[in-house]
């Protein structure tokens, strides 16, 4: 939908802006070919020339964009084979879109007419920055995934993999994960420890949050600070302290010991999220319930609990992830019998760089995505049922 009437841009403007983007991409290509500076210069020159040339033929957008895709794909193929051809094609698509987007002023059309050019520039700079942040967050996770299908025992993109040769890929690291006794034990330990620690954290954390939100409790702030401290104190210090304490009372190296230690780490998350939801909780509801003859327990389960449930669930999720991801405390408090997945991955990284770790990481990422997506769907559904959101 066009908000602002626009006209085509001058070749100079298109060439200059396109050159800037060309320099940016050229930096990556150039660095991979040995010289970043050359890449910047060549990238800027190519894009400037294209921008200049194409602004005079803005009416033939479709054919020229296809030509660009084909040209960059072929150039990529000669530079670095099939994978580079795919990347080149993608870049060709981007270059074509970018130049015509600039040239026909489409970038300006859907923005409000009263914006100054500085504001327009910031509008897009902001988007580029967000995109860059997103890329930096997500790329390390995405890179791991194809590597986990490596047919070799190293964290390396082999030439076979880059040629998309099926022989370069294999499921053997997944097979190793599912058949290796060490990994299976670690998986079972994690599955046994994390839910138990979560249940304890959620129970105590919720109770503590409710108690501490009562105005008449003495030393509320001090108690709160102590309960939150495991989140603030460096983990290694908590771990060492727990190690000596648990050793003396016979909990070191036991299942219960690890569960309790993880519960302690999870409680602060539950307290914080539940306290936050309690702020919006209307106390007159509990008085109304009491007025109608409900005891405190009935009131809690029938009135208060359903209303603070989102806070409890998200706190529980954090507690679960904390336990599932935790490696420092379990190294101290656990013994070889309680080896969890992160512990096994830690050993694997230090002693033998095996892509099995990447296979496990990929599976865990998959599980996390499923878990969060399910939770989000459930949340939306319950909001819809309660009529809190339209949609």
């Amino acid at each position: 939908m066009a908000l602002t009437p626009v006209e085509n841009q001058t070749p100079g403007f298109v060439a200059a802006t396109a050159a800037a983007s060309g320099a940016f991409f050229g930096l990556f290509v150039g660095t991979s070919q040995g010289s970043g500076l050359m890449g910047v210069l060549v990238g800027a020159a190519i894009m400037a020339a294209l921008g200049f040339a194409l602004t005079s033929m803005l009416d033939k957008e479709k054919p020229f964009r296809w030509v660009l895709i084909a040209a960059f794909a072929v150039a990529g193929f000669f530079l670095g084979g099939l994978p580079a051809a795919v990347l080149g094609g993608l870049f060709g698509w981007f270059a074509g879109w970018f130049i015509f987007w600039l040239g026909t002023s489409r970038y300006r059309a859907h923005l409000a007419p009263y914006l100054t050019s500085g504001q327009v520039l910031w509008h897009y700079t902001f988007r580029v920055i967000c995109g860059a942040v997103f890329t930096f967050l997500i790329t390390p996770i995405l890179v791991v995934m194809p590597l986990s299908f490596n047919a070799q025992d190293f964290f390396t993109f082999t030439p076979e993999m880059l040629r998309f040769d099926p022989a370069g890929y294999s499921l053997k690291h997944y097979q190793d994960f599912f058949s290796n006794q060490d990994w299976q034990n670690a998986l079972w330990n994690s599955i046994r420890i994390a839910p138990m620690a979560t249940v304890i954290s959620v129970t105590f954390g919720t109770l503590a949050a409710i108690g501490l939100s009562q105005p008449h409790v003495p030393f509320r702030r001090a108690i709160m600070a102590i309960l939150i401290s495991p989140m603030i104190v460096p983990l290694i210090i908590s771990a060492a302290g727990m190690y000596f304490f648990y050793s003396r009372i016979g909990l070191q190296g036991t299942y219960m010991g690890v569960v309790l230690a993880h519960a302690v780490l999870g409680i602060p998350f539950v307290i914080i999220t539940v306290t936050a939801t309690l702020v919006g909780f209307d106390r007159s509801l509990t008085r109304a319930a009491a007025n109608m003859g409900a005891g405190p327990v009935t009131t809690f389960f029938r009135v208060q609990m359903p209303l603070i449930l989102p806070g409890v669930v998200s706190g529980g999720l954090f507690a679960f992830i904390t336990s599932f991801d935790e490696v420092v405390v379990v190294l101290f408090v656990g013994s070889a019998g309680q080896k969890t997945l992160p512990w096994q991955m830690f050993i694997g990284l230090r002693e033998q760089i095996s892509p099995t770790i990447l296979a496990v990481a990929t599976i865990l990422v998959g599980i996390s995505v499923l878990l969060l997506a399910t939770l989000e769907l459930l949340r939306r559904r319950s909001e819809r049922l309660r009529g809190m959101s339209p949609g």
């Binding site: 003396r248 009372i249 013994s335 070889a336 050993i347 990284l349 002693e351």
Partner: protein, 367 residues
């Protein structure tokens, strides 16, 4: 009130549990080792046969890298949970000096060789500490990418300092030990004089100055798995690591890498038993050690990993790799062809100078 009851209950179950099982020997063993291919070679050669023979359950803990620190903490907490620990000789000496490992009499507590030679003679000079039962001889040596070194493959360790003939990055361990010796040797110091030179301030400066010539080309590693990964990636043209890791890269993973055995540094790895175990756990640990360090068992381990057995009587029994079927003898660091020019880790020198030279080395690294 409730809490005291609970902790009393927990404490009493913890105390009673071992007593309930009290027999002559405990029927569970926690063995600490390095993990990876090394642990699996021990599992195949020692743990599985021992479990088959006695029915004892063996739990593996891969914590050897922090064994000294953890044993100290366990000792302070009065809760030693490990029965047998695999450590390098230098760590064993420290543990022995601090009284954290028990002393072992080789002739009464270890098996004699099949021909009747006593264990102390069979192990010979390798019994470097009263608490330490040597298991393998390994070496820290160099591997290089065969496709990145050009036409003339390196034959001398000094190739690491020759960035003109062999351009590219090198991987060296992030500690002074071995690197200082190699630096002096390649700076023209005679092999016999190296430790005399290294004792002096000027000698240490000289070694660091030699290392400084390649400082920009070095990737420093701290885990044994790093160099194999870097070599496989082609990130480095050559790098030092343990010879067994290189064997795995070359023979099992079929990477274009070759061994440069020149000036390899031998070191020992073996078992200790922590001090202060209960009598039945100690008896079980000693029984395991007696079994696992006999002549046949030590020779068996060489079927799975290319480290040399510590007993003289095991050497002739070294056979073929269990899966690849290749002869293991030529891949042993102790094979005469590989051992033309070797160092032995100088325990006395490094015990005296380690802290001092470590500090200088780290300061030099940070410069």
């Amino acid at each position: 009130m409730k809490l005291t009851k609970l902790s009393a209950l927990v404490a009493s179950t913890a105390l009673c549990a071992p007593m309930a099982m009290a027999e002559d020997m405990a029927n569970e063993l926690t063995i600490v080792s390095w993990g990876g291919a090394y642990s699996s070679s021990q599992k195949n050669a020692y743990h599985d046969p021992y479990t088959a023979k006695t029915g004892v359950k063996i739990i593996n803990d891969e914590s050897s890298a922090e064994a000294v620190a953890k044993l100290r903490a366990m000792n302070e907490a009065g809760n030693v949970t490990w029965d047998v620990v695999d450590v390098v000789a230098a760590d064993a000496m420290r543990l022995c000096d601090e009284g954290l490992a028990m002393e072992i009499d080789p002739d009464t507590q270890l098996a004699a060789a099949p021909d009747g030679t006593s264990a102390s003679e069979d192990f010979g000079d390798l019994l470097v500490s009263e608490c330490f039962i040597p298991q393998i001889v390994y070496s820290t040596t160099f591997g290089y990418r065969t496709d990145l070194v050009g036409d003339t493959a390196p034959t001398s360790v000094c190739a690491i300092f020759d960035t003109e003939a062999y351009p590219g990055k090198r991987a060296l361990e992030k500690r002074p030990i071995n690197n200082m010796e190699w630096a002096l040797m390649c700076d023209g110091v005679a092999k016999a004089d190296i430790y005399d030179v290294l004792e002096t301030e000027e000698g240490q400066e000289q070694a660091l100055a030699k290392l400084a010539t390649i400082k920009d080309d070095v990737i420093w590693w701290s885990a044994g798995a790093d160099t194999p990964q870097l070599l496989a990636d082609g990130e480095v043209v050559m790098g030092s690591t343990y010879n067994g890791r290189l064997f795995s890269v070359i023979e099992e993973q079929k990477q274009p890498v070759a061994m440069l055995w020149d000036a390899q540094v031998f070191d020992l790895d073996g078992w200790i038993i922590p001090a202060g175990l209960s009598p039945e756990r100690q008896a079980r640990a000693l029984d395991y050690i007696m079994f696992a360090t006999d002549t046949q068992r030590l020779a068996d381990q060489a079927k799975y990993i290319s480290y040399g057995p510590a007993r003289a009587s095991s050497a002739p029994l070294v056979g073929q790799h269990a899966e690849l079927g290749i002869d293991m003898a030529p891949h042993m660091p102790t094979d005469p062809n590989n051992a033309k020019n070797t160092f032995l880790y100088n325990y006395e020198f490094w015990a005296d100078y380690r802290d001092d030279i470590d500090a200088k080395f780290q300061a030099w690294l940070a410069k």
